[in-house]
């Protein structure tokens, strides 16, 4: 994906909103990619966390809405503990998830899960998954 940065693609408001929701300052990121190196889920992500931070820094709202990175994030905090700029990247990912979830859309539908799956999963998987992936 080519990142187009101009007045049409950038939303300064979205940067502020993300910072408020996450309690972090995405502008602190220096694009070192330690997060992407630490992340255990990059194989399943279309964009690694470094590139997401890049999009976030420039307020590329539309791109951020389309990628799957924060839906694949497992909130393991591996990025957070190693960020040399002290950004809690897991919180930025949560803010991105919440921005979408708060519009009322679910990423997994509890009522569409099979009875076998539910019976098989440990309770913490359901609780954690519903917290992170349902509105």
């Amino acid at each position: 994906m080519t990142l187009k940065m101009n007045a049409g693609t950038q939303s300064l408001e979205s940067i502020q909103k993300l910072n408020e929701l996450s309690g972090e300052n995405v502008k602190l990121c220096m694009q070192c990619a330690t997060c992407s190196g630490m992340c255990p889920m990059t194989a399943e992500m279309d964009y690694g966390p470094r590139r997401v931070m890049h999009m976030a820094q420039f307020g590329l709202k539309k791109q951020l809405a389309e990628i799957n990175t924060y839906w694949k994030c497992a909130s393991c905090h591996a990025c957070t503990v190693k960020c040399p700029r002290g950004i809690d990247i897991a919180k930025v990912m949560e803010a991105l998830r919440q921005q979408s979830l708060r519009t009322g859309q679910n990423k997994v539908e509890p009522s569409q899960m099979s009875a076998e799956t539910i019976a098989d999963l440990p309770q913490i998987a359901m609780v954690a998954g519903f917290r992170k992936l349902t509105s």
Partner: protein, 260 residues
């Protein structure tokens, strides 16, 4: 509140008549002010004010769960919950009925289930969206620890869920307040059914009685009654032996024991 000294034939139903000398107080139904006698329940006060319940009223005895009501007192943030047929009006009550609240009720065949918590989890996975805010418990007009039984279900303890939820009357106020969008009362009913069928030891005397019924022991008595003329049946009913109110268990026996 109910006049029980009159015979059933001349019962006044639920028509509200202003008791002699009773003070009236202002209540607000859906925002509109009404002056009602202070001695009435919410339901009777609303009827006094001119409302007619076609739905949202049932047993009028606090057990059917048809008349859940929410109210606030003027000037206070606190929400209160009660059954319209049980709660006595207070001055400056702002109230509304919530006779029904939509809640997903799973369909199931009890006889094809297993007595394990996963059965409940599979039918009501939204249980895992509970955030323990406790608004359900606060909303319960029967003082059921709703959060307690939701927690018990998540912990896989069906017996605990069944016992805690025993007083539930399925009014649905818990579900109306739930931020996890959980139909608590339906899940609890399932827990009680699974508990009764698969977990609780079966009572011997109940089993024996069912066998007697199925064996036809009571059929002749029923046949006799259904073959009687209406007047005879009424006379028989009025003359029937009745266990005295509040008799201690096991202390009373009818004179005619042939039907036992």
């Amino acid at each position: 509140m109910c006049d029980t000294t009159k015979t059933p034939k001349v019962a006044t139903g639920d028509r509200a008549i202003l008791p002699e000398g009773a003070r009236t107080i202002p209540i607000f139904v859906m925002g509109k002010k009404y002056e009602v006698p202070e001695t009435l329940t919410i339901m009777k006060a609303m009827e006094f004010a001119g409302f007619r319940f076609l739905r949202g009223a049932g047993c009028r005895g606090g057990i059917c769960g048809a008349c859940p009501t929410v109210y606030r007192m003027a000037g206070d943030y606190k929400l209160h919950f009660g059954l319209a047929c049980q709660t006595v009006v207070e001055a400056n009550m702002y109230l509304a009925q919530i006779p029904f609240f939509p809640a997903n009720r799973a369909s199931f065949k009890l006889e094809e289930m297993e007595g394990v918590a996963e059965t409940i989890h599979a039918l009501y996975p939204e249980l895992f969206r509970c955030v323990a805010c406790n608004l359900c418990t606060k909303a319960c007009p029967m003082d059921v620890d709703v959060l307690g039984y939701v927690s018990a279900m998540k912990q896989g303890n069906i017996e605990k869920a069944a016992r805690i939820s025993f007083d539930c009357i399925q009014c649905g106020l818990c579900a109306s307040r739930c931020m996890g969008e959980i139909p608590q009362y339906h899940a609890a009913q399932l827990a009680r059914r699974i508990f009764a069928r698969y977990i609780q030891p079966q009572a011997e005397h109940l089993k024996n009685r069912v066998m007697e019924i199925e064996g036809g022991k009571y059929d002749p008595m029923l046949d006799e009654l259904s073959g009687m003329k209406k007047e005879d049946l009424e006379a028989r009913y009025v003359a029937r032996e009745r266990e005295p109110d509040l008799a201690a268990a096991g202390t009373w026996q009818p004179k005619d024991t042939s039907h036992l």
